[in-house]
Symmetry: C2
Subunit: 109 residues, 2 copies
Amino acid sequence: MDVVSVDPCCPPVTAGALDEDEAVELAAVLKVLADPARLRLLSLVASADAGEACACDLVEPVGRSQPTVSHHLSMLVEAGLLTREKRGRWAWYRVVPERLAAVRDALAP
Amino acid sequence: MDVVSVDPCCPPVTAGALDEDEAVELAAVLKVLADPARLRLLSLVASADAGEACACDLVEPVGRSQPTVSHHLSMLVEAGLLTREKRGRWAWYRVVPERLAAVRDALAP
DNA sequence: CCCATAGATCGATAGATGTCAATGTATCGG
DNA sequence: CCGATACATTGACATCTATCGATCTATGGG
């Protein structure tokens, strides 16, 4: 139990001193969140109609080039914060609420 | 109301698309959190005896040089996550729970 | 088949970031 | 006063990061 991987993420910051490994892991997820473009992408997907958004509808509102948006989306997926499903020519993204909750909990008292 | 400054930080990521300014502001706080050394410092202060910790007791456990630790502590203070009180030769740090909660809430559904 | 479209990948680059050694600045003990 | 102590500041440097234009890959329409 207490697998150091996808779901629980890290012990809460306020519940005792983190060791270097725990801190590195939590910092990694936070680093992915700590970028304006990625926060906007996350919020766009989160507030999309059917809970999912097509990449094609994200480039313009986020105000970055297509390659840049693609790159950021990949980072969010790799961090477990989004899932990507390719349907035909389009890529559809959904948020992973549990992952976001895990990060939130790591910041809890 | 809804002063864009210290306390509320930002609208929740999942409650509609963030504009660039909101995203930049939230990203700024997250950037400060997204570093292993700073997370460890935060956790050390949070779990300190009387709710406060002396800088002199933080250098060794965090495994960085004294100037580096001082630098990180300054960033945490500037981000509103810690307060610094200088007493005599020593600097005492406390966490600002409301600030941490504000960041947490910005990540909430 | 051929071409258009969606999106991923590559290569390059300017700027930000974490780190330390050296130095500066206060504060205390004697 | 003087030296020691606790932090902060400065300067330098190697590394990481966000961004873009160009290109590659795959899918679908006619």
